[in-house]
Amino acid sequence: MGLIHTPSLKLTRRQFLTISGISGASLLLSGCGSPLFEDVAGAISEPLNQKVESFIFGLKPQKLVPEFSVSEIDNKALIVNTFRNTPIIDIENYRLVVDGDVNNPLSLSMAEIQKLPLTSMIIRHVCVEGWAAIVQWAGVRLRDIIALAQPKETVKYAYFISADKYYSSWDIASSVHPQTLLAYQKNGEPLPIDNGAPLRLASPVKLGYKQSKWVTQISLVSNLSRYKGYWEDQGYEWFAGL
């Protein structure tokens, strides 16, 4: 009896753990030096992260971020990151266009912008790469420009188009934060062309890649298109709040 033995295929607990351990280790090791589904990790976690980020920001959307003293300004720490070339802008013909879902579309010259109230702030500029620099920016509050354009009730986002074809988009709450500026001065001097002259975004509440330089057009819109921003469309986070 029983000349033929069929080996049991049942896994013991230890065998199961062994196999899980080995396959888990191989999964982890194969990830070394590779993307390993970073797009999936982003697709799964980013919606949650974005909700948490905008929730934290929304608790006190007008709260001022503490500023720094003049002696803390670090002039050399601010690295210039430009995605393409530095554009050539004729300041006489320059216009800032504000359009989209607004009752009063604008086309402002630099002279007109400089007549609006000047706000100065010394903030920490934080780059997605990990470095940070304490910079003084001065310019007009973006909320003042938005108010002039009289946005419709439905407006939820702002698109920023730059002279070098760079583009980005913000949630409206961060756009009307009192420290979100369209700056034309840096560290007490006229804004250098490399830093985005004549007009750039500057804010302590967003990462550096959201702070577009050489802004020529602001579109206030009710919905985001499938193009959310130059870096955002490549895979960087859209909200990117600080």
Binding site: T18, S34, E38, S45, E46, G130, Y236
Partner: protein, 167 residues
């Protein structure tokens, strides 16, 4: 968390900036900066919720009263001749010290993720650079912990002890 953190680190090394000390990309997860950030900010939930769950478990089961290093362990290290008691004391030091290390990793991480919301975290460490260094210090500290832990476990039970985890 470690490997995706190294990916982020390499975008602008904490030590020396762009021209500074890069870590070989074989240790980096994510492929590029955005990918490293995706992994880092996905894994932070698993890591921090896991630590929170452990904290609740330790409190509810009252393990905190006798699982961590105490005065008796320090005394034992000074006086005891019993090798088992000595290893036990070192083990408790290792397991106790890893907890603040992991908590500091979260604390400094929140400070870098949301410096405008929690500016006092950056102030607590004095500067942005100091905050980055403390956050990065998690990498060598966790690696040292892993080595000490495995050395102590082998000292207690040898390879049989390690193998008993698998078969």
């Amino acid at each position: 968390m470690l490997t995706s953190g190294i990916q982020i680190y390499n975008a602008n090394p904490v030590f020396g900036g762009r021209a500074g000390l890069h870590i070989p990309p074989i240790f980096a997860l994510g492929g590029w900066l955005a990918g490293g950030r995706h992994w880092h900010f996905a894994a932070m939930w698993v890591f921090s919720l896991n630590l929170l769950w452990y904290g609740i478990f330790v409190l509810v089961t009252r393990r905190w009263r006798h699982r961590y290093v105490g005065l008796l362990d320090i005394k034992a290290l000074q006086k005891s001749q019993n090798p088992k008691r000595l290893t036990f004391a070192w083990h408790r030091i290792a397991y106790t010290s890893i907890i603040p290390i992991l908590l500091f990793a979260i604390f400094t991480g929140i400070g870098m993720y949301k410096p405008a919301q929690f500016p006092w975290i950056v102030d607590f460490f004095g500067s942005w650079q100091a905050l980055r260094i403390v956050h990065f210090a998690t990498v060598p500290l966790v690696l040292i912990f892993a080595l000490v832990h495995s050395y102590l476990a082998r000292k207690v039970g040898g390879t049989e002890f390690t193998e008993s985890m698998f078969w």
